[in-house]
């Protein structure tokens, strides 16, 4: 296959950045998108030029490290697929592909396609956990949890923290990410004691970062590689409302 790539190159946070074009005629349709970039990088490196910086690790769609805009869509156009799982057979021979970093104020560009997503860690640190000490728990089967609740909580918990939701949102909101963790924990019996405080704290932390507000575009759920549903945002909003009332009255 012949592929023409327009790649965003930016030397550092303060560099203005520009597109550079790379043409390859030896792309195999069986390559993954990142393997195609590996080939480009391998050539650059052996010529002593700096390879394109992008993040990746597991290459199995689970660590959440990879991700950039492919023709304007986070992770590319194939639904429920991370960049590392996208394969070249999804593109036509002769295709021209534009790749750029996630564009969001909350995710400053570090270099080329690499952005800083540490805001997500700070949101979790604000309350995305159940406060138990190691060894202080009861037997695992002491609290039965209905399969339905367990499955629902699981669906929310599958978030890989890649940031595609933020990148796709016209407001660069982080509601799907935050809502997913809140739904996971707030649905389960173990999560009840801290439910409202957790919601309050995580929403406050989210607001303190450079993320925008949700105005129900719904782009986030479309690009989410794990298909996390907008329900988690609705759930978060309900819990947040109740939290303000409960925390004030207690």
């Amino acid at each position: 296959m012949k592929i023409t790539l327009n790649v965003w190159r930016q030397n550092g946070p303060n560099d203005k950045g520009r597109f550079e074009t790379y043409v390859r005629t030896d792309v195999s349709e069986h390559m993954s998108f990142l393997e195609m970039l590996d080939v480009v990088n391998d050539d650059l490196e052996s010529q002593g030029k700096e390879p394109i910086v992008f993040e990746h690790d597991c290459r199995e769609g689970i660590c959440g490290a990879c991700g950039f805009m492919i023709n304007g869509v986070p992770h590319g156009h194939r639904a429920r697929t991370t960049t590392c799982q996208l394969h070249m057979r999804e593109f036509k021979d002769g295709a021209e592909i534009t790749i750029e970093p996630f564009r969001a104020k909350g995710f400053p560009v570090v270099k080329d396609l690499m952005v800083d997503r540490s805001a997500f860690d700070r949101i979790i640190q604000a309350g995305g956990y159940i406060s138990i000490r190691t060894g202080s728990t009861v037997d695992a089967n002491a609290t039965p949890i209905g399969k339905e609740i367990a499955d629902q909580a699981f669906d929310a918990a599958t978030c890989i923290g890649c940031g595609a939701c933020v990148a796709s949102c016209p407001n660069a909101a982080a509601m799907l990410f935050t809502g997913a963790k809140l739904s996971h924990l707030n649905l389960m019996p173990q999560g009840q004691p801290e439910r409202y405080q957790r919601t309050q704290d995580m929403v406050t932390a989210m607001d303190a970062e450079d993320f925008g507000h949700c105005s129900n575009f719904g782009e986030c759920t479309v690009v989410c590689p794990k298909g996390i549903s907008l329900d988690v945002i609705a759930q978060m909003n309900r819990d947040h409302l109740r939290a303000q009332w409960k925390l004030r009255s207690s």
């Binding site: 650059l44 052996s46 597991c58 290459r59 270099k111 159940i130 190691t134 367990a150």
Partner: protein, 653 residues
């Protein structure tokens, strides 16, 4: 091959007496740090995988001051996140006769009698606490309709003791540990250093006192001093280049510690997973695991006639498998192992696939692949029935290969997956260097020469949540809190060495990429030290590694500079370490003149072609002491005594 063997055997420091009460007695006997003094101690934890994150969080809860490091941008992305199948625990919730004793027994036997009994028993004991802990954290394990936890049988176990969260057990367990860690970070008890790579271990007066790191964002070299150093830096499967491990997995932290005196144990015990998606072409960057559970319903076969197989000339993978009749197929596992059939253990299944492909019957790129066929299962269960069991795996397979496994057989081939070997540790998980502790896949401890499915997650979390937090106190209480300063000649020397290495790498201006060397090394190690190993092959490999290393140090090109992000430099450092480490791996394989678990020496097999152990001469752990660049490592032996488990030859006929 002659190697120098140390005179005194290594001591495991395991308690004597009844194994069932050993851990309790040990916990009573070891020293405890006064709670009021814990704040005065600082512990460095390298790694934020299941082992590192659980240890860092628990140590912080206990009151220690913790510094935790990982190379990813967030601790949540450690390679543990990718584990699929599940985690074992002797809960016996299914009432099918499981017990601590049975899990202990299965693990020692599954490890082909090359593990330390005392450690394995403790592992089985604390396994039950791990599940309680994870559920308490909100880990959404699979449940039955009645609300109780579900289990499945995994990896040929006769009882259902595996807990799982769909195909994402590692993700959910790691997020549980990450969240516990995040809580401690928020409380100021853990200082987290993401995007920071450990480049060296610092030893002062014979004790591990700190590390030298490189900040992967700024490029700055930094030193950190502590009262103890814990390595939870994962396994070294990427020495093969192609493996199921994440791209960043490396041996650097462990190897740097080894070069500072920590013994490297059983490096030749590597696990090859039988069901992975085969290599598709020379560009291949990693291999994807397909869950072992697929063998419950899939049938493995190759065409009998090589002309229906891979054709080098045309690049054709094989004849359309659906057109081949039963008489044209060789269901070699069912033929050779009538009792276990497609469910033989990992090492047996892997070797059988290699053998079929060696005979020219491979059906994937390069002749390296066999069929895993679901036609019979679709007939029996219907497409929906199969989808219910394996839907997400089939989808993943189709996404990667473009083939639909409901209508055409999958292609699979074994791939490096896990490393049982690692830094040597005693019963306290302390290496031979006082103050250096090693946990998770990075140590060698519990799996002998073969790990059972769903036991790595168990071990990583056992180490981090329930073992290390106690045993490290014993060490700390004895040495007392010491001043923490990086202003000493030891720190300075280690920093200078790291800086020198970086300068040297950046000074290289050859014409080859870093990856090209990694690939070349991987191919050689896979060829001669992979699924089947021979004296000649290993000897050849030992001759070739130094040459490749030499070429690396003259032909590689590492562009960019040492300020800011430089991914080429990061990879170059790791590949340079693999190029050194591979030698001790090959040496270990060459000197272990027996076959056991994942280590198969062609010279040592039964008439039926199965692994043949030599208990008489090789019932020991091989722990290698680094002695310098141009000299051979010294072998330290830890004898293995089996008091509780009877040694037998495994048979799956």
């Amino acid at each position: 091959m002659q190697v120098q063997v140390a005179d005194t055997p290594l001591q495991s420091n395991a308690p004597t007496g009844d194994i069932r009460t050993a851990w309790d007695r040990h916990r009573f006997d070891i020293k405890v740090v006064n709670p009021a003094n814990k704040r005065k101690y600082t512990v460095i934890v390298v790694g934020s995988g299941l082992a590192g994150a659980s240890a860092a969080a628990t140590l912080a809860e206990l009151g220690y001051n913790v510094l935790c490091f990982c190379f990813q941008d967030s601790p949540r992305r450690a390679h543990s996140i990718a584990a699929q199948g599940g985690i074992n625990a002797a809960k016996n919730y299914q009432n099918d006769g499981d017990s601590i004793w049975r899990l202990f027994y299965d693990t020692v036997k599954g490890g082909d009698y090359r593990a330390r009994e005392s450690n394995v028993y403790r592992l089985a004991q604390v396994s039950v606490n791990i599940i309680d802990q994870a559920v308490g954290q909100g880990v959404p394990f699979a449940r039955e309709y009645g609300g109780m936890l579900a289990n499945r049988s995994f990896g040929g176990a006769l009882v259902s003791r595996t807990f799982y969260a769909r195909g994402q057990t590692g993700q959910q367990l790691l997020l549980g540990a990450y969240q516990a860690l995040s809580r401690q970070i928020a409380d100021g008890n853990v200082t987290m250093f993401p995007r920071t790579e450990m480049l060296d271990l610092v030893i002062q007066d014979g004790h591990a006192r700190g590390i030298v790191t490189r900040n992967l964002m700024s490029g700055k070299l930094e030193s950190y001093c502590a009262d103890a150093v814990v390595l939870g830096s994962g396994g070294y499967s990427n020495v093969f280049y192609l493996s199921t491990n994440a791209m960043g997995c490396n041996v650097t932290a462990a190897w740097r510690a080894a070069k500072r005196g920590a013994y490297f144990a059983n490096p030749c015990y590597t696990q090859i997973h039988p069901t992975c998606i085969p290599v598709g072409g020379s560009y291949q960057s990693k291999l994807t695991l397909m869950s072992e559970s697929l063998r419950n319903d899939g049938r493995v076969w190759v065409p009998k006639d090589p002309k229906h197989c891979w054709d080098e000339g045309s690049g054709r993978l094989g004849a359309d498998p659906t057109t081949l009749g039963t008489e044209q197929r060789d269901y070699y596992l069912e033929r050779r192992y009538p009792t276990f059939g497609n469910l033989v253990p990992r090492d047996v299944a892997s070797r059988a696939a290699k053998m079929a492909c060696d005979e020219g019957k491979g059906v994937a790129f390069g002749g390296r692949g066999v069929y895993l066929d679901f036609a019979e299962a679709v007939g029996r269960l219907g497409k929906d029935g199969v989808a219910e069991r394996y839907g997400n795996l089939f989808e993943m397979y189709q996404r990667i290969t473009g083939d639909d496994p409901y209508s055409t057989p999958m292609r699979i081939y074994p791939a490096p997956h896990y490393t049982m070997g690692g830094l040597w540790v005693d019963y306290n998980l302390q290496s031979n260097v006082p103050g250096l502790f090693v946990i998770g896949e990075a140590n060698f401890s519990d799996h002998g020469s073969n790990r059972l499915g769903a036991s790595a997650l168990m071990q990583g979390l056992a180490d981090g949540y329930f073992v290390l937090p106690y045993t490290i106190g014993h060490y700390l209480a004895q040495v007392g809190a010491r001043p923490k300063s990086t202003e000493s000649s030891d720190f300075k020397a280690a920093e200078d060495a790291a800086e020198g290495r970086i300068k040297k790498l950046l000074g290289m201006s050859g014409t080859k990429s870093v990856d090209s060397f990694h690939r070349e090394l991987g191919l050689k190690v896979w060829e001669h030290c992979g699924m089947a190993r021979t004296r000649e092959g290993l000897t050849e490999l030992l001759g070739e590694i130094p040459k490749l290393r030499e070429r690396f140090w003259s032909e590689v090109n590492v562009p960019g500079n040492d300020r800011g992000v430089n991914q080429s430099l990061e990879r170059a450092g790791r590949v340079a370490d693999f190029l050194e480490f591979a030698e001790v791996l090959a040496l270990d394989a060459l000197t272990r003149e027996e076959s056991c678990g994942g280590h198969f020496r062609v010279e040592h097999q039964t008439e039926g072609g199965e692994a043949k152990r030599n208990d008489e001469d090789f019932s020991f752990v091989s722990a290698w002491e680094y002695t310098g660049e141009d000299s051979q490592p010294v072998l330290h032996k830890e004898p293995l005594d089996f008091e509780y488990v009877k040694l037998t030859q495994r048979s799956y006929k």
